[in-house]
């Protein structure tokens, strides 16, 4: 086995993960259904509802769980036969808690570095460096039990980075974080690629947050590939304005939504309804906002909200032919935007 000696870095690798008809069946469910996808180096998001097969995919990519059918390669290595070599070059941050509370972050990460094969001195140096890079300072000498969720997530990230992998697999790294903690973690993930030069595959059930962080987004649902495209494509399709207005107090039977839709459509805008009282107006340019404002004012109703809105996954796929669409209800429920 290729264990001893420094592993040469494979710069110029064009794909970090490639799967071909990857299928994983459990006795009751099919977790992955003929998934074929190429993941480029960079920050790639893997989006799907809970149970969409994200964690199963990560387990297969780490060479820990054999695929029922199909194949996958990570960093050019076959997951079925070269699991050990893959795990030496890949870092993994699990979704769940994995930190013992009674040891310090330093002790824990040093231990994990040694588990990755780093000699004791190198393990200590890399631990100090890595903890600093993820933003843990004096507190790294205190027991992990007293850390905030955000700090724990940083320790989990540090243990995935400590052996300087070529690729890290981050499973729901923003889980349980408050909005500011979320933003910090996403910025950190961005830096893992931009500053550290490590490719990232990050999973989330929220498309919105991955759009901001990732170069490329892969969407899976029910173990199937729904879409794989660059974030720019997603954003292009998602410039929407959500508008909600009040009824006329004097005349409750008057359908303000319909009246507004008619006015906006007459103004050359595409308007859809999101099922409730919110109208989704496609943003054609800066004057779209003015058009909406004027239309609302002319109708004499109150404007409850007017905000930029990212598409929900379900809306993204309404462009596709009917037979290829995911079940709308399910997708909407599955991917609520943050």
């Amino acid at each position: 086995m290729l264990m001893r000696s420094a592993v040469p870095r494979r710069y110029g690798l064009t794909v970090s993960v490639i799967t071909d008809n990857l299928t994983k069946r459990f006795p009751r469910v099919t977790a992955l259904d003929r998934l074929t996808v190429d993941v480029q180096p960079g920050v790639v998001g893997l989006v799907g509802a809970n149970g969409a097969g994200k964690s199963t995919l990560i387990k297969i990519l780490l060479g820990l769980s054999p695929a029922t059918e199909g194949s996958a390669r990570v960093l050019g290595l076959d997951v079925a036969t070269e699991g050990g070599a893959i795990r030496e070059r890949v870092g993994y941050m699990p979704e769940h808690d994995c930190l013992p509370p009674d040891v310090s972050a330093t002790e824990f990460v040093v231990h994990m570095a040694r588990m990755s094969g780093l000699p004791a001195t190198a393990a200590r140096e890399r631990t100090a460096d890595t903890l600093r890079h993820v933003g843990l300072y004096e507190e790294r000498y205190r027991p992990i039990g007293g850390y905030s969720t955000g700090m724990k997530q940083r320790v989990k990230l540090a243990q995935a980075l400590v052996h300087d992998p070529q690729l890290v697999l981050l499973d729901e790294p923003t889980n349980g974080l408050d909005p500011s903690g979320r933003d910090e973690m996403l910025a950190l993930i961005r830096r893992v690629h931009s500053d550290f030069g490590i490719s990232v595959l990050v999973t989330s059930h929220l498309l919105g947050e991955l759009e901001r962080t990732c170069d490329h987004v892969v969407v899976v649902d029910g173990g199937k590939l729904l879409r794989s495209s660059s974030t720019a494509d997603f954003t292009k399709a998602t410039a929407l304005l959500a508008v909600e207005v009040t009824d006329r107090p004097a005349d409750p039977s008057f359908d303000t939504d319909r009246a507004l839709t008619e006015r906006l459509t007459a103004g050359g805008l595409r308007v859809t309804r999101d099922g409730g009282r919110v109208l989704l107006v496609e943003i054609a340019g800066d004057d779209t906002y003015d058009l909406v404002r004027d239309a609302v004012a002319e109708l004499g109703v109150g404007l409850v909200r007017m905000e930029q809105r990212r598409h929900r996954i379900a809306e993204v796929f309404q462009d596709r032919p009917l037979d290829q669409r995911p079940a709308d209800d399910r997708a909407e429920e599955a991917f609520p935007d943050a």
Binding site: P94, L99, G117
Partner: protein, 316 residues
């Protein structure tokens, strides 16, 4: 709860950074600000599975005696180790003082008497070695690295065995050194010291096997401790009751079969039989066949336990 940390570059830290800082340093840094030296890739050696397994073994072995852990975690294992050794020291001191030609207690006999301490040690420390990783779900982190389930079990089981062997072997070593200091018969003491070490090894093997399987079944340390104590002590209790019932009935060697359900009885009886030592109380084998059965049982239970452990961790 501490506030979330600001970006590293703006984080002041009292005192200088430890260690050398090669690499680019931004111009005109303030004295007490961490220099952003950028990310450095690791170019050094990666020592692979064998090294990782050995590291895990060492860490677990040290942890079994509370080394590298909090003071509170040291109290119980170190206390039990002291409890194992102090009587040996007293025996040696008395023997040296009285200038006796023979230790008042044989080596293997010493372990039989200290059986309870050995059981408490393994019950308290096997869950430390295994349940913690399960409870805090650290196991998947190990398996996301080159080591396999087999390596993990080898390291943990090996560490538990070694810790037990240190616990049981150390007092015997004290007694043997004492016998040398008191100029007792060298040959006799060496021979019986070796018998004692065989008994220590068998205790370590059988107790570690039973304890690690139970500890690996539960993430709750308390359940692990209680389960191990119950299996070790209750089985020994039932066995001794059975022995006295059968022995009282027809006073035959068949009563020794009761040892088949007692871990300590199995080890003591096997050692007595293998080396032809004098039997005492319930310790003894029903026949030569019985002796073989006892030894085979120890081997089979240990092998089965090891196999179960590997199976259990393969599934994670």
């Amino acid at each position: 709860m501490p506030e979330p940390m600001p970006e590293p570059m703006s984080q002041p830290m009292p005192g200088p950074m430890p260690g050398p800082m090669p690499g680019p340093v931004p111009a005109a840094p303030v004295a007490d600000v961490i220099h952003d030296i950028g990310y450095r890739h690791y170019q050094g050696p990666r020592l692979g599975r064998g090294y990782a397994t050995r590291s895990l073994y060492t860490l677990t072995l040290r942890g079994s005696f509370g080394l590298g852990r909090s003071i509170r975690s040291k109290i119980l294992p170190m206390g039990l180790l002291a409890l194992m050794c102090v009587p040996a020291l007293i025996i040696v001191a008395v023997a040296v003082y009285l200038k006796s030609a023979k230790l008042p207690l044989e080596y293997e006999r010493y372990l039989m008497i200290m059986d309870f301490v050995i059981a408490v040690f393994v019950a308290s420390q096997a869950p430390v070695a295994l349940s913690r990783d399960l409870r805090f779900m650290t196991v998947p982190l190990y398996f996301s690295r080159p080591i396999t389930a087999g390596d993990y079990v080898r390291a943990k089981f090996g560490a538990m065995f070694t810790a037990m062997f240190v616990l049981t072997g150390l007092p015997l070593l004290i007694m043997w050194i004492g016998s040398l200091l008191a100029s007792m018969s060298f040959g006799y003491n060496l021979e019986h010291f070796c018998y004692g070490l065989v008994a220590a090894a068998l205790y370590s093997l059988l107790y570690s096997s039973i304890a690690t399987v139970i500890a690996s079944a539960t993430p709750r340390r308390g359940f692990g401790v209680a389960g191990i104590i119950m299996v070790l002590l209750i089985s020994a209790g039932i066995s001794s009751v059975l022995y006295f019932v059968i022995n009282g009935h027809d006073n035959s060697a068949a009563a020794y079969w009761a040892n088949v359900i007692s871990p300590s009885g199995l080890v003591d009886s096997s050692v007595t039989w293998m080396f032809g030592l004098p039997t005492t109380g319930a310790v003894g084998v029903p026949s030569a066949l019985g002796g073989c059965v006892f030894v085979a049982e120890i081997a089979a239970v240990s092998a089965a336990a090891y196999g179960l452990l590997v199976q259990r961790y393969r599934k994670i």
